[in-house]
Amino acid sequence: MPIHEKSLIRPEDLTEHEALEIDGVDVSGHWSTFIETRVVSDYNERMEEEIAALPGGEYIHRCWQCSACTNVCTVNDLNPDFNPRYWIYLARMGFEKELLRDKDLLWQCVSCHKCTHACPREVVPEGVMKAMATWAELKGHTAVSPSASFDAEFTEQIVATGKIEEGRIIRGFFKRTGQPLRQAWLMEMSLRLAKHLPILMGIKMALAALFRPRTRNWGKSQAAIEEYLVERDAANKRALNLD
């Protein structure tokens, strides 16, 4: 059969033969381009369940592939390869290998929630994207993303004190991601900030940085949050059959 839409087929799956004869018919050259048969034998049939068990992925089973999510997607507008509708299909069918081709795109969702408000079945695709990115990370397919590092630093500070202190977050984030503290833009920003900062506020910020104040009566909340985080972490690992 002639191939009308070569652009839809991955180049590595197209083959031409310089000299090939099948049953006495010459099928050499450009006019007899072959498509590599796609054999999918390694489905991960648990994939949908795994993603559904992660926070945000609960409603993945509702999807009926109408593409309302992809059609309104902010990121898809900039990069047509960012396709939540397609990834949900792959995850539901268990085409793990195919999904992992896009593993470096999954986490680029900007959580604008346009899909949440377009989806006629309330799949909450934004949550599913979050769950997919977490899934890829927990399974070790992707490195911890910069935004996940930032979230971790942020969360740890909140849990410890009930407050956040911006300077500390920046330092912690840089440390986690192996960046030097002396960066030209940061120096410039700090300098300008210092120049125009009201004195009283400057003193307050310095005190906060030095003494790390905690929210009053934080202990109980801290214990509850820590308990939840441990439970959640265990549940995630259980869902993915990790240790």
Partner: protein, 349 residues
Amino acid sequence: MTEPILIVGGGPAGLSAAQALSAVGRNSILVEKEDRLGGAPIISGYAKLVPSDEWAKDAIGGMVSRVAESDLVDVRSGARVTEFTGAPGAFTATLSNGESCQVSAAILATGFTHFDSINKPEWGFGTYPDVVTTVQVEQMISSGKGVYCPSDGRAPERVAILLCVGSRDRQIGREWCSKICCTVSANIAMEIREQLPECSVYIYYMDIRTFGLNEIKYYWRSQEEYRVKYIKSRVAEVTSDGNRLLIKGEDTLVKRPIAIPFDMVVHAIGMDPNVENDSIAKVFGVDLQAEGNIAHQSNYGGTGVTSRPGVFVAGAAIGPETIDDSIAQGQAVAMSAMALSPLAAAAAE
């Protein structure tokens, strides 16, 4: 006991009930809120009906004249029922025009309300004049003017029909399938292709539900004979580049983004419960379903049995329904209402 039977609503189901009762010599009183009979097919000006291909004004118009000519049907148009008291066999209905009548039973054939596309603003209805509904296209065809762009009257070269507008959508609290829009849209698509052979027609769908034999006559035929193109995608938005409408979406089968210009976009609007169902339910003392339609028991013991003995329901008042099935239900419920009278009389003795 030969009190007349009250029929509320003069659309296909109500007309059919009146026709059936008069055929067996029973009196009925037909109350219609509009000033003429016919229901949605006549009031909203439908063109050729599915699946008979007969014009609505002939097909339903024929039902209207048969009912109007019958001595046994007492038509009260331009009126509503405001009060309904009594028991099976001996009800009293009070009308908005002050009249009151004694009836043995009531048949609610109160129909539905077309979905108002203004509730899906992202698809351009109310913003762009060339975004219309299936009802408007039906009117263009039935008026004899043919299909045209409302903005300047030109014949469209490219038409898109969006399915499931006001159906199967949790975002707007309408989870049901409206049952008829796929078939009606395929029919409209073929009408357009017949009138304007140069015009390309695209249908954007989530699933195609041309149920039963409609699969052949509408879905397959529209593709094979009329070259109507079907694209699986729920589009994001309908905008305009200043000259033409622009549809943004994805062709999901080949995973490719699409932004396609159109002259005209048609919303295949669904069937909402009648907006007056709350007051109808209150007047007649019947329960509503969760979705807002009139509730009825299973059909095994009798057709159209509501929560109030002696009050029956037929047609699109129950949920999205085809014209043919509404007609069948009207006749079936006439039987239920008739069978009630002797039973009620026996019980009263």
